[in-house]
């Protein structure tokens, strides 16, 4: 049970219960603002009946031709609100928006070690499309899986035929 609404700047002062999570990136202010300024419809937050923030999803749409797609930049749910299907609701919202924007697919990157998240995404219909070498830099250098889910416009599911070879980060178009 949730109130799903657009993320506002005030939420930046209240999202600690979500962002203290070690696997949730605590980005610089500008990063969130960039999304709010360009893709506000892709930035949604879920609020609990007690008025606390439960989780949020932040994303964008980009690409040309058959690469026109929605991208999930971050999706995170606070520990007290897990296993309630909230991530699904947030992702559904983003997928619906992408579908209405006539995107071909939605994609996201995830640490290859983050088994839990990968299994959640798989349950939501995402497949491992390819491996991106050394996608994550910094303290914990790691490869990423690029996971994808086809939307209704990609009737032939062309966007979700997995690549067998891993790609380097400089080979990524997006």
């Amino acid at each position: 049970m949730t109130t799903l609404r657009p993320f506002t700047c005030d939420d930046l002062f209240r999202f600690n219960g979500i962002n203290l999570d070690p696997l949730t990136e605590n980005f610089g202010l500008g990063f969130y603002l960039q999304y709010l300024a360009r893709w506000p419809e892709y930035f949604m937050v879920a609020e609990s009946p007690s008025g606390d923030l439960m989780g949020y999803v932040m994303g964008k749409c980009e690409g040309v031709g058959e690469n026109w797609h929605g991208h999930v930049t971050a999706v995170s749910v606070g520990p007290d609100y897990r296993r309630l299907g909230l991530a699904k609701r947030l992702m559904d919202g983003l997928e619906v928006t992408s579908d209405k924007k006539r995107c071909f697919f939605v994609d996201l990157f995830v640490r290859v070690s983050n088994k839990l998240a990968i299994s959640i995404y798989e349950k939501l219909g995402y497949i491992i499309y390819r491996t991106v070498l050394d996608y994550y830099s910094g303290e914990k250098e790691e490869d990423a899986y690029d996971m994808r889910k086809a939307l209704s416009r990609d009737r032939l599911f062309k966007s979700v035929v997995p690549l067998t070879e891993p790609v380097r980060i400089d080979e990524l178009e997006f």
């Binding site: 109130t3 799903l4 999570d21 603002l33 300024a37 209405k100 839990l116």
Partner: protein, 887 residues
Amino acid sequence: MARSQNDTISERRLRPIYDWLDNGNNKKALQEAEKVLKKQPNFQCCRALKGLALLRLGKEDEALKILDGILTECPVDEGALNAMTLSYRELKMPEKICTLYENATKHEPENEEFLSHLFMSYVRLGNLKKQQTTAMSLYKVKMKNPYYFWSVMSIVLQAVEGDEKLGQAVTLPLAQKMVEKMEKEGKMEQEQETIIYLLILELRNNWKGALDLLNGPLGKKLENSASYHLICLNKRIELEGKLENWSEVARLSRNMLLQQPDSWDIINNYIQAVIKLQEADSTNGGEAKEEGPYSMKLNKVDRSVEEAESLMTCLSAGFPGLRGPFLAKLEICYRTLEGRSSLLQDLIMEYIDLFGGKPVCFSDIKKYLKVIPVEERNNFILRLRSRYPDTTSVPSNTAQIYREICLSGIERFLGQHLNLSTERVDSMVSGLCDRYVASQPLVQHIVTTELRPSDGYLILAGQLLWERWIATKEKRFFLQACSMLQIGLIGSPSNWQLMLLLVRFLGRAGAGQLCDSVCGPLDIKNMMLDTLSWVLTRPLAATGYVDKLHRIYCQMTRFYLHSPKETTEHIIQAYKHGNLSQICDMSKLKRRLQTTYLVPNVYTEKILIDLNFLAKSLDEMIEDAEFANLKPIDWKSLADNRDFRTIQSFEPEETSVPDEMIATNFQLEQAFVRVRRATLSALVTCLKLGGHTEPSGGGDKGAREQALKDLKESEEALSTWLDKSKSLLGEEKVLDMPQAPYRSEMNSLVDGEHLAGVLHCVKLVQTIMLTATQEKPGVSGADFEPLMKVLDNLKAATATTTSPDWTVVCDLLESNKHAVESFSFFTIFTFSILSLLRTGKGMKKGKKAVLGAKFSHLEPAYKDLTANIQDLGAALHQQLQAIYKTL
């Protein structure tokens, strides 16, 4: 043709300079620019790039000279304009970018790009009026909708940020008229244009107009869009509610609930509407109720609580597992509570049956637990416990763990943990710890980045131990809690609730350095610096870990310096991308970040650390004082962005943190900033005096007058806020709990007479200055006495320490830190006093100062003062050594 050939040649020559600049090799860029300028000395763009390179090499003065030179030439060359915009931005001179493009647009008034840059340069300055007119000029040049709406948005912002009356009477009507014109002419294109229209109508409280817009063709178009579908549906219900069309609210929200029964805002709207309808019907005699089973068809209007309850029953049957409909029943009962308390309790139990195994359960029902009458609470808990008898010693799955923690949390919330005996706490804590240990096999497999469900046992035990520790002052409770939380963190190293609780324990016992290491994994950065850094900075400050504190303060200062600018750049992006509705929100964010009280607080404390602890010589101190930027603060608009909600608590009302407590604490925090700022300002003035003025009242008259004015202001602020703080401290309700704000630092500052000492110093310096210029009758030894008394008291206070219990170590360390600071302050003041009293120019090292003729009678008093300060220093040194031995 010739011209374009020249251009190409010029471009080719500039290319390497751009490349070097892009690669960060500014030296090479400068050399290359100079080479080109040898051939074309007037090449504007190249000169601008030279300016940029110089600036990036740290030669700001030289750069500025070049840039300002070009500015007076009113450049229109695109490359030069870009390089200069970049340079002035890096130099933090946004107003010059305006001049740059004002000049350019004068030359080429129809140049769309120049006008657009001019508009953005006004956005950087926040000059809304000029934004408005520039956007209109743009629209006249190119009839593009975005320009028109940039202008509309600039008007709306004037209303939002300016005087409310003027906004309602003039600006908003103007904005509305402008949009209506576009609507009438059929020129509305983008979804955001309709959103702005809606925003204007709402700002004017024109709910009917807003609703008509939403139901009209523009609204329908919006509703069908990818981005605004949900917003439209919600907005329609909200507006119908504002217009008190309750049957419409009930119908619309019910329609939505049939598809999304878990939407809490919609449930709330629905319940409110149904209750309003029932109330209206009961006064009007009511409408006939439908007979038969509850119908789930669309567009039905429920007019009674009974129907609402039936809807929720049907929804929960249709969507099993969803919390929404069940919680809605609780909400309905809560809102119509009279005579239904036992039903509410039954519903709570039913809710726990269904959802107690989820960690969210407690926060869901908290609101409803609160209204269980005090006299029924015991019975409620007994019933609850008999439902889940506490006999199985080992939970068999994670749901059971969550349920047990939820039940214990409910007990705590309903006051069962208040006034417990030590024996009872011991047995409860050991029970919780046993549970924790027993549940480990169930949680062993959980990865370290996840939080373990069983950690909740430790949180509850930790809270119980905290209370016992504070009440009995027995060390063992503290030690038990810390070891328990540490053990918890070994298994569950990402659990920030365990970390935050442990930090509060350690901070309370004055273990500043340990707080820092526990907080490490929290990685407090970016926005969290504003909301959560208080958890760590206070114990560090109290215990004098100035190095670490200084690093955090530097980090915070950078954050506060850059964030508003960064926000402005994204406001510009929002204009460019046409997401106008985000602009109000971002402007609000910018204000909130600029007005947080931590901005003056952190800056003041940082400079005080520089002066007191980090400066290695008097010269360094004077240099720090010269660079201190003490611009006036708008005290009335300070905001408190600290987050007190993140630390988990199951607290009953008696020990929960009410908003008023946070408000009082905030007042004290502000008072603290005020007195510290006044202290710093006085110190800066005195250091400048000591470092620069001629002896015995000579020197620059203007500077002396300014110094006197500044000292007077500091004195007034200190005495006013010392008094106010005393009365605020009298009202301060201190809740000694881990989830509450720390006790204000004002306490130890006022208790120890530190402020009184500073105040006496400030007065003394002024008296001496006025004597020097004979504006006041002679200063005498008696003028030193109040300060001497404070020194005596501070010295006496150092002697009183015995082996402290651990609950007061933090306060003890804090008052010692203040004493050390005061010692340092007095030394600085004495330095400036000596500089005023002595004769001869300049203070030469190793040379004995001789007092001027006017002041020779003060020699004994001055000597006493310095001796007394030295004694204080020695006494403090001794005491600190003694304290560290006992700890």
